[in-house]
């Protein structure tokens, strides 16, 4: 029997560009052409001013650790506890949930405000997940 798999995102027409981006090694955000608001998750209009004129762009992939939990139980399918579920604040402003790789999953190692850099984890042919690792330097 196959191991239980971690939840796989299923893109919608409004989010396809994001998942195309991660596959290509880019973290894509959207910026409003009218008011310059940068937002996430994806949608084809600005949640700040309602303009439909918005532009997809590749974010820097830089951010910092805003908050997290280290989940012990119950563990989600495809995860081995303990594992951190983090929220990252991107330099461009929006926050997103993610995992922190290349870092012990401990309170001592996971310091709030630590600088992070995006990395990409391929789940299958269709989906590559953005995750984060401690920034170098």
């Amino acid at each position: 029997m196959a191991e239980p798999q971690r939840a796989r995102p299923k893109p919608t027409p409004e989010t396809q560009h994001f998942w195309d981006g991660t596959k290509a090694g880019e973290l894509r955000l959207q910026r409003c052409d009218a008011c310059a608001h940068v937002y996430f998750p994806p949608r084809p209009f600005c949640p700040s001013c309602a303009s439909r004129k918005v532009t997809v762009f590749a974010a820097s992939g830089k951010g910092f650790l805003y908050s997290y939990v280290i989940n012990h139980r119950p563990a989600a399918p495809g995860f081995t506890p303990p594992y951190a579920i983090a929220v990252v604040e991107l330099d461009e402003g929006p926050r997103m949930m993610s995992n922190i790789i290349d870092c012990p999953q401990t309170p001592e190692a996971l310091e709030l405000d630590m600088k992070l850099q995006v990395a990409f984890q391929q789940l299958d042919d269709k989906i590559t997940l953005p995750v984060f690792r401690p920034a170098k330097g």
Partner: protein, 379 residues
Amino acid sequence: MRKNHVAVVGAAETTELGVIPNMSQLQLHADAALNAIADAGLKLSDIDGFATAVETPQQVCHYLGIKPTWVDGTSVGGCSFMLHVRHAAAAIEAGLCKTVLITHAESGKSMIGKAPRSIPADSLQGQFEAPYGVYGPPSMFPIPVLRFMKTYGITHEQLASVAVVQREWAAKNPRAMMKDPITVADVLNSRMIAYPFRLLQCCLVTDGGGALILTSADRARDFPRKPVYIMGTGESVETPMVSQMETFNSSRAFKTAGPLAFKEAGIAHKDVDHLMIYDAFAHLPLFGLGDLGFMPHEETGKFIADGNTRPGARLPLNTNGGGLSYMHSGMYGMYALQESVRQMRGIAPAQVPNAKISVCHGVGGMFAASGTIVFTNER
């Protein structure tokens, strides 16, 4: 909405609370409803308005044999019932119905006749949260707390004291699930669930239900129980994704719903005799005390740790023992409302002497939603 023009005239929980393996979720709705009907001295045929969450109004109305002219199926998580109270009060005032029944029930432990919660893979949560290993409320609800602690200097010991104080209240309540005294050390040594939260900082998982009956204050005089008036109400929603809250230093939904209710009631914080803040997890009373304006967030942890919300202290909080020690079927808001009504009727197991104003504040779905009700027993 005009204050004190609608009143609670019936209130009851299910006959049993805890582990109820001999009843489906739908029957738990009926059990609570029949108890509330009896409490109010009514017949089911007197009910012309109905509200519930998760289960549909048509499901529960048909099962009970109710023929409503007004229904509300608002389902925004555990505070849905606070929103139902608000909507029902408005509907009664508008003349859309005269007597509203609100039911909650959940086979949260036994899972009989309860659909499992699932996150569709093409929803925003399914795409942008589920892949990172969130799995049920313990992995999601506490996500803001480390930021909150850092911002305001809240300590682990202070967060543990929330559970300790609520256990003191639960010890006075024969129907509470957990009554044995605990210490801060017990909390901090209990099994890790999702750092920084341990078992004793997470709500119970139980079966149960509750129901309320509301009617106009003018009619309420003719009922057997002391009327409990709806003095003020507030509601809001923010986001279904905990990662997308405006800030982890407060809840926008709390900050909208709470002040709306206080304003409508025309009360100040010093007027509050009794307070319920939905405590699915130990940080929620701290968010609530700050966001409702009782004190700056910085002071909330010390306030509870210093014993200011204990039995006999100046701000009695979560006097049934709360979701941490009384019961938590999954959508706890109804039980907080029941305790406020008991306190206003003067019949609570841990009764606050001479309490005249009770504030009942609910949260839904990992800070997704909020509802606040101010009750009073004086018109």
